[in-house]
């Protein structure tokens, strides 16, 4: 009850004070009037005087309402701030260690939050849902999309969704974009911007009238980014015509800067879904997509109607889609609704969670290390403040009160460090992302409530972690002895310090070990034989204008290009592929063995290549043959060694078949393992025949000059083609880029760990020397030489150091297993890394011992003993 009334007071705040003032003024006037009636001329003065100090009275009256601890906390804060300022060295050290620790954690969380947790930047994102299909009873669950016809059916019949949108993204050329990356064009239903509630920076969004299949209007909305970079923020952009893969579109709007789109892709331009055949006039599927009910799969999302829940919508959509599918005679699928954050999708969750978990563990370890460090510093400080604390204890302050005060100090430190950490998290992720990718993904890294909450929690947690033990230790003392300047019960405090020492060593072993593994992994990746020819191989990417080249014309032109390049290519062979080797892209198909049901399909990676591919890249056939003309029609495939080993362990797969969907694919050859999908142990994969299309990669042996010559030949054939030349060596380097960054980050973390641990070890040992000054003095007086002193100091800390190394080694073994599961590039534990890490730590440990020990050796026995 009292608590409630106190809260009431806080909420009423100012009004309460006004009332009190009015009440007291009334009192004063009444008293004055009474005095005057009694015939005293100076009544006003005396009434005021007699009544005492008005200010003080109201101050006290107000004070009644504040809980006594509020005042105490304020005192503690002031006291804590003062004592932190008084020791700037300690404060700076602690802030640096904690700030780095919290900063790293916050940085990682900021990225995680931006990538995975933030919903779409739209109006009331909580009411938006991603709508996915799932297939009941599948072993490897796939999450699919919807066809346009099914979309229209659901849109028109759903009561639980007030708006449904369909989206599909395609790469296009904007205007005459000859070089560089292609742009991302999103084909969306006309209601897209309305349903999402997106503001426009300029003009308007799309409309339903513009998105009619029979009468598509070529209008486009630009992203703010595109408007700024490509059109210089031209205010007269509205009404201008731009070309998307050659087709003219009129710009009707520019989206708000804050709207970064509805997927992880870049969003450069939005056009009505119905204009798909306008941009892809020669491709049959573009029209089919819009009109064929059997055609899937575009992403669908919806906004829940007022009062409708996600469960209701899921039930309704499942029923509707079943009805639709059964009318078509298709196998029905289930519908699943998720939030719009990336992490909400179960398939993305799986991808993110292990990598994120490992990284989080690493930065958490660094923070733990920082905590152990600061904890040690605080212990040392508590020892130095023993007298002060003893005085306060003997003056009657309760132990709890003093612990609270010490904890408040820790909290102050942690909060300040949290502020520093937030600052660091403003610059660090952006910096790292910039290093990692040429075109970093569009991420909103501004701290939101989730980030702030995370940082505050971490700061509080660290305060308790590093502050509690020293506070409890520091106040457990015999007042008598402390006042006398003795620290008789050194041992328990010392034990805590040894534990902290061991923990620090252990954590740094684990961290150093993982950075060692990453560095070693990088070195191996650099020297490893990828299983295919690298030097002297050129990759020529040819991108034909889609408005003039369909699949067939494309293949014809590619064949001609290959023929022309032949004479300048080594051995006269020019291979064709859909995707470049190490191009960070792959085909993934669901496949099953004959006799298995479709539900039992599992995913399989693949590449589409021509027969020459294996010859040019020097990948031998271990069994069977390479592709020959006609294989494409026969659905022949080639599998690699890893696939053959896994699925046909006893014999050759040549002549067997696998099933992909409704297709039966006969295996005609087995290729030796080559790491064309990515460096690292080769995974099972298959090759399907390819003979070019309107986009292909030509691979042949040539030096750079010949490569450029080949590019010129292709441009001669077709001026509109976008051609780029990449030496395979460069492709390999590009692939190593992220591995390098990973290794660099791991190394940075390891180095940080090493520095923190060394400083920590130094601190502990220096302190132990300080505490045992008398003992050392005696030994020196008895003739111990400085060298012996170093040995003595080392020995007394050896147990903690060794225990730390041992525990760290065990941790490292466990960690290495985990890391290798997630990052196959990483090497296993090898003796070089082991020896390196142990040596580094021993050296750091010895260095940390030598300095204080030498100081101990110089201890003047007379002064040390007089110290009492």
């Amino acid at each position: 009850m009292r608590i409630l009334r106190r809260l009431m007071y806080v909420f009423r705040g100012r009004r309460h004070e006004v009332e009190l003032a009015e009440e007291m003024e009334f009192h004063r006037q009444m008293a004055e009037a009474a005095e005057r009636e009694n015939g005293r001329p100076d009544a006003s003065d005396s009434a005021r005087r007699r009544m005492g100090n008005m200010m003080q009275a109201s101050e006290e009256a107000r004070g009644v309402w504040l809980a006594p601890w509020v005042e105490g906390v304020w005192q503690d804060l002031q006291y804590g701030a003062r004592s932190l300022i008084k020791q700037p060295g300690f404060t700076a050290m602690a802030l640096l260690a904690l700030g780095l620790g919290i900063g790293l954690n916050t940085s990682l969380f900021t990225v995680f939050n931006a990538v995975a947790l933030r919903p779409w930047p739209v109006l009331e994102p909580g009411r938006m849902v991603n709508i996915l299909t799932t297939e009941p009873g599948r072993m490897h669950q796939r999450f699919g999309g919807f066809g346009a016809v099914e979309y229209r059916f659901l849109r028109d019949n759903s009561r639980t969704l007030q708006g449904v949108i369909l989206m599909r993204s395609e790469q296009v050329r904007i205007d005459e974009q000859v070089e560089g990356q292609r742009s991302r064009c999103h084909f969306v239903t006309g209601n897209y911007f309305d349903v999402l509630g997106v503001q426009m920076a300029l003009g308007r969004g799309l409309t339903a009238e513009e998105d009619k299949v029979e009468d598509p209007r070529p209008v486009a909305v630009l992203s703010y980014q595109t408007w700024q970079t490509r059109y210089g923020g031209d205010a007269g952009i509205l009404g201008r015509t731009i070309r998307l893969d050659g087709a003219p579109f009129m710009v009707v709007g520019v989206a708000d800067e804050a709207f970064t789109g509805t997927s992880m892709d870049r969003h450069d331009v939005w056009v009505p879904m119905a204009t798909l055949p306008v941009v892809r006039p020669l491709e049959k599927w573009a029209r089919q997509m819009l009109t064929d009910p059997h055609f899937c799969c575009s992403s669908m999302a919806g906004r829940l109607a007022d009062g409708a829940t996600r469960e209701q919508a899921q039930a309704e959509l499942t029923a509707l889609t079943r009805q639709f599918q059964s009318q078509l005679g298709e196998k029905p699928h289930d519908v699943m609704l998720t939030g719009t954050a990336f992490f909400a999708r179960p398939d993305s969750k799986k991808k993110v969670i292990t990598v994120m978990g490992l990284l989080m563990a690493a930065v958490a370890a660094v923070l733990l290390l920082a905590c152990a460090n600061v904890s040690n510093l605080l212990l040392a400080r508590a020892a130095a403040r023993q007298r002060e604390i003893a005085v306060r204890l003997s003056l009657g302050a309760g132990r709890r009160r003093i612990v609270r005060q010490l904890l408040t100090e820790s909290l102050l430190l942690a909060v300040a460090a949290g502020g520093l950490g937030l600052g660091l998290a403003q610059v660090l992720p952006d910096f790292v992302l910039r290093q990692m990718a040429d075109a970093p993904p569009v991420l909103n890294l501004r701290p939101d409530t989730a980030v702030l909450a995370y940082t505050s929690c971490i700061a509080m947690l660290t305060a308790v972690l590093f502050g509690l033990a020293p506070a409890l230790r520091g106040t457990r003392m015999s007042v008598n002895e402390a006042m006398k300047g003795q620290s008789a019960n050194v041992s328990p405090r010392f034990r805590l310090r040894s534990v902290l020492l061991g923990v620090q060593v252990a954590i740094s072993v684990v961290l150093l070990m993982s950075s060692g593994l990453f560095l070693q992994g990088l070195r191996r990746a650099e020297d490893r034989d990828p299983g295919f020819a690298v030097d002297g191989v050129t990759i020529l990417t040819v991108d034909l204008p889609v408005d003039r080249y369909d699949e067939q014309r494309g293949s014809a032109l590619m064949a001609e290009a290959a023929e022309r390049i032949g004479p300048i290519a080594g051995s006269g062979k020019v291979a064709m592929a859909l995707l470049a080797p190490l191009g960070n892209a792959r085909i993934v198909t669901g496949f099953r063995m004959p006799g298995q049901r479709e539900e039992q399909e599992s995913p399989l990676a693949g590449q589409a290549v021509s027969g020459e591919y294996f010859e040019v890249l020097g990948i031998p056939m271990l069994a069977g043959r390479s592709f020959v003309p006609g294989d494409r029609g026969r659905h022949s495939i080639i599998v690699n060694e890893a696939m053959a080993r896994r699925y046909w362990p006893s014999g050759s797969p040549v002549g067997s078949a696998i099933l992909t969907g409704k297709d039966r694919r006969e295996i005609v050859g087995v290729a030796r393992d080559a790491e064309i999908l990515g460096l690292g142990p080769a995974e099972p994969m298959y090759f399907e025949p390819y003979d070019g299309g309107n986009r292909a990669v030509l691979v042949f042996r040539a030096n750079e000059a010949a490569g450029r010559q080949a590019a010129a030949l292709v441009s001669e054939l077709e001026k509109g083609a976008v051609v780029s030349v990449t030496p395979m060596r460069q492709q390999l380097e590009r692939w190593l880029g992220p591995t390098r960054i990973g290794a660099a980050m791991a190394a940075a973390l390891g180095l940080l760990a090493l520095v923190l641990a060394s400083v920590g070890v130094y601190g502990v040992i220096a302190y132990s020397v300080e505490q045992r000054r008398r003992e050392i003095g005696v030994r020196v007086a008895l003739g111990a030489r400085p060298g012996q002193m170093v040995g003595f100091i080392l020995k007394s800390n050896a147990r903690a150091l060794m225990a730390g190394l041992g525990a760290g080694a065990l941790g490292a073994i466990a960690m290495a297993k985990l890391v290798r599961k997630t990052f196959p590039d990483v090497s296993g534990l090898d003796p070089v890394v082991w020896a390196g890490v142990m040596l580094i730590l021993m050296a750091a440990g010895v260095a940390a011992c030598v300095m204080p020990a030498r100081r101990a050796g110089r201890v003047d026995p007379v002064r040390a003993l007089q110290h009492e």
Binding site: M1, F26, W65
Partner: protein, 109 residues
């Protein structure tokens, strides 16, 4: 005769007592105590108002605005049921104390 400071710890009880019959405003309470004690007990503002806030906080009195005898806005305090209980227990305790003190003082030495 001189003005007497109120015995420590009794102010709350005295205020509650003064409110036992009727509601009063702050000045009224001070006047009442002064009059009934025949000018012996004088309560200063600096102790009266903190005490009143304390009573409010404990829920022993309620306050409401009303018109004073000379038609000015004044804040009137009313004793609550919890306040009456408190008053009863405090005056019992007080009687016990006074009795004890008197016995000590009256004892033949």
């Amino acid at each position: 005769m001189g003005k007497q400071e109120i015995l420590p710890g009794t102010l709350d009880m005295l205020i509650l007592k003064s409110l036992a019959r009727e509601k009063r405003h702050g000045y009224g309470i001070a006047e009442y105590l002064k009059a009934v004690s025949e000018d012996v007990l004088e309560v200063g503002e600096s102790s009266l108002y903190p005490a009143l806030q304390r009573l409010l906080l404990n829920g022993w009195v309620k306050a409401e605005w009303g018109a004073s005898e000379n038609n000015r806005r004044a804040r009137y305090y009313t004793i609550t049921a919890a306040g009456r209980k408190q008053l009863a227990s405090e005056s019992r305790e007080f009687d016990r104390m006074i009795g004890a003190i008197q016995r000590v003082m009256g004892a033949a030495s």
